[in-house]
């Protein structure tokens, strides 16, 4: 059992897989001796050497594309993209090539790679270094998407992603990097596509993801005092999506809220709400409410950034009003 920060858990999870499987390689900008911009790979270069850990030029198309080519031919690369906003500069590679190749080739080619990226806001980085892009990926058939909210889930989902024969995006949330958690001894492997009920409750179901999970849990604490009992589900993966856990919960609580950091339009919450509105409408007993960042870029000034992001107080307030 070790207590590690979420930040450390990224390297911890990668090390477990690099250790286990010699076809796993790690690649990205400053992932080597520098230990990554977020210091999440500190020690890996020393441990696994330049034959396994590859520094790249600033060429996301090149190294994400190269990882794809390597994955097609026997390796299992873990690509570290750094800020998730940088999906923009390699979106063709991700959305048009990596996602589609197995399907387009009639199953001839497989692309078992992992792209880890530092997702989300909260560090006062401004609009081009703070985006939550998980819904971009969810909208593209052929990509699996994992978004861990705790160190142990980072390790477990990273392992599941590396072992998966499909391309998986592991979006770690940089606002959580300083948080800590226990990691049990021995091999840790999670299953892709399993949500978890982080807090059982009866008044309403609140579905959250990544950095929104602790906020939703804090909101639940705030409301507990008022006799409102929230069930908080940590979705953990967007693809595969654990619809049954959500529907089962909603069947009990009859109310649904989502807490999303992404801008308002077309987020994962919209998908989940729509699924429920089709498949479980009769379970629902009141408006389904998505609590999101407003549909604006993330502003830099601390007071503005804090105001756009869903935080416990706003979440609680919105749920209170809706259940009111």
């Amino acid at each position: 059992m070790a207590e590690v920060t979420y930040r450390e858990s990224i390297g911890y999870g990668m090390a477990q897989e690099l250790d286990r499987d010699p076809t796993v390689v790690l690649v990205g900008e400053d992932v080597g001796a520098a230990g990554h911009v977020f210091k999440s790979t500190v020690g890996l270069f020393e441990r696994f050497g330049p034959g396994r850990v590859f520094d790249t030029p600033i060429s996301e198309q090149a190294f994400v594309g190269a990882a794809m080519g390597a994955a097609m031919t026997g390796l299992r690369p873990i690509v570290m993209l750094m800020y998730a906003d940088f999906f923009g500069v390699c979106w063709d590679t991700v959305a048009n090539e990596i996602a589609k190749t197995r399907y387009m080739t009639g199953g001839q080619v497989e692309v078992p790679l992992v792209i880890q990226a530092d997702n989300g806001a909260g560090l006062r980085m401004g609009a081009q270094h703070s985006q939550s892009v998980e819904s971009w990926a969810m909208a593209v058939p052929g990509l699996k998407v994992a978004v861990p909210s705790t160190p142990v889930d980072v390790v477990g989902l990273m392992a599941a992603a590396v072992r998966c024969d499909d391309p998986v995006l592991v979006l770690t949330h940089k606002y959580l990097y300083a948080t800590k958690g226990e990691i049990p001894d021995g091999e840790i492997v999670a299953e892709l596509g399993r949500a978890v009920v982080r807090r059982p409750g009866t008044s309403a179901t609140v579905v959250a993801l990544g950095a929104m999970v602790p906020e939703a849990l804090r909101a639940a604490e705030l409301l507990e005092a008022e006799g409102v009992s929230l069930e908080v589900i940590d979705l953990r993966c967007l693809v595969p999506l654990d619809v049954s856990t959500v529907i089962e919960s909603v069947a009990r609580t009859s109310r649904l809220f989502t807490v999303e950091e992404n801008p308002r339009l077309c987020g994962w919450g919209a998908e989940l709400v729509s699924i429920v509105a089709e498949e479980a409408l009769w379970s629902i007993d009141g408006p389904i409410v998505r609590i999101t960042t407003p549909h604006v870029p993330v502003p830099a000034a601390p007071v503005l950034e804090d105001a756009v992001l869903p935080r416990a107080a706003r979440i609680a307030e919105r749920i209170r009003a809706a259940l009111g």
């Binding site: 030029p57 198309q61 080519g69 097609m72 031919t73 590679t93 001839q108």
Partner: protein, 367 residues
């Protein structure tokens, strides 16, 4: 390394449908010294026959593909390589069976040259289940992993990094494989070209980049939107690479150049960038009559058609025309047979839709 993941790293599984015995030409191909002058003077007779055969096969299948369009059996778009056979034939003849090929939407010739089954290719064009990709991909995405044909990519530039990645993997696995990546002149102006070349050079990857300079992008002369005369070769220095421009309609030159580049890559000498001058006889794609090209230019290039030119050369070198005739007939029968197989293939059933998105064989996104 787990055995099951070593895709394509073994030559055992390779099935070559060119009708050539793999390795026949390869013995020469891996001997880089043969081709140092890159003038094609020293190419062995069996190699030349293999090249000839590949060129004829490509020409035959591509013409058949064109017929199938005209009969409205190929829907969507399609980009033929008639006129560009020499690049594909020369390279494929020099490659090892387990080397990787990456091509563009104009990729039929490379697939065929590597030995992909013509029936599977034609069946793919007409959207049948016996198509190479079960009808899922279509003309622009011809892939046949069993022959090292690692795909045809329809977004300009995208496959250059991917090809570098296959080379990276080969280097990592110490397999001795080389990745060969074909692309057009217009492709040299997109960002992925630059990124891939730099990465390949820095990592000294065993990859050969081959620009098939056919002078045009879609309907625009590439020179008019490119800062240099030779869109690939004039940029080689940006990646610390040698400037190489060759006659892409002379298969012997292509072959010997390929031998040198492949040999260098296999010997740890890193990437090469080859600019092969060639010409497409038709328009950019099925719908295009290619009217934007000056008549003289078209005429001049037609006199340099690699297929009859090569036949003449072989006869000049003492190959009996009867031997070539026999080959031609064999190929023609092969193409007919492939056409039959293709058109007899079943249309895909709707169940195909939800197949092979994921490794589990299905397409479910939920649980």
């Amino acid at each position: 390394m787990t055995g099951e993941r070593e895709k394509g790293s073994t030559t055992m599984a390779m099935q070559d449908h060119t009708g050539l015995s793999p390795g026949g030409a390869t013995a020469t191909a891996t001997d880089a010294s043969v081709a140092d002058g890159a003038d094609g003077a020293d190419v062995a007779r069996d190699v030349r026959l293999a090249i000839y055969r590949r060129q004829m096969l490509i020409r035959g299948v591509e013409k058949r593909a064109y017929d199938l369009f005209l009969r409205n059996l190929v829907r969507g778009t399609s980009h033929l390589a008639i006129g560009q056979e020499a690049v594909a034939a020369g390279f494929a003849t020099a490659m090892r069976p387990d080397d990787y090929t990456f091509a563009t939407y104009r990729g039929h010739h490379h697939a065929l040259a590597r030995g992909a089954p013509p029936a599977g290719l034609l069946a793919e064009l007409v959207g049948r289940t016996n198509g190479l990709m079960r009808g899922r991909g279509g003309s622009m995405h011809i892939t046949s992993v069993a022959q090292g044909m690692y795909g045809s990519y329809a977004i300009i530039g995208a496959h250059l990094p991917i090809a570098a990645g296959a080379a990276w993997s080969a280097l990592y696995r110490r397999s001795g494989q080389v990745s060969v990546c074909f692309f057009g002149d217009g492709t040299t102006n997109i960002g992925a070209f630059h990124e891939a070349l730099n990465l390949a050079a820095v990592w000294k990857l065993p990859v050969v980049y081959v620009c098939e300079n056919n002078l045009y992008m879609e309907y625009t002369n590439t020179r008019s939107v490119t800062a240099v005369d030779h869109p690939a070769a004039d940029r080689a220095a940006s990646y610390g690479l040698e400037r190489i421009v060759i006659d892409g309609n002379d298969p012997d030159v292509v072959y010997t150049t390929a031998c040198v580049a492949l040999g260098r890559a296999r010997a740890g000498g890193g990437p090469s960038l080859v600019e092969a001058l060639t010409y497409r006889h038709g328009g950019h794609s099925r719908a295009d009559p290619g009217k934007y090209r000056p008549e003289e230019e078209v005429k001049a290039w037609m006199t340099r058609d690699p297929v009859p030119m090569y036949r003449e050369r072989l006869i000049g070198l003492g190959v009996a025309s009867s031997e070539l005739d026999a080959l031609d007939q064999e190929i023609s029968a092969l193409v007919d047979q492939a056409t039959r197989e293709a058109s007899e293939g079943p249309e895909p059933g709707v169940s195909e839709i939800e197949r092979d998105l994921w490794a589990d064989g299905g397409a479910s996104w939920r649980r």
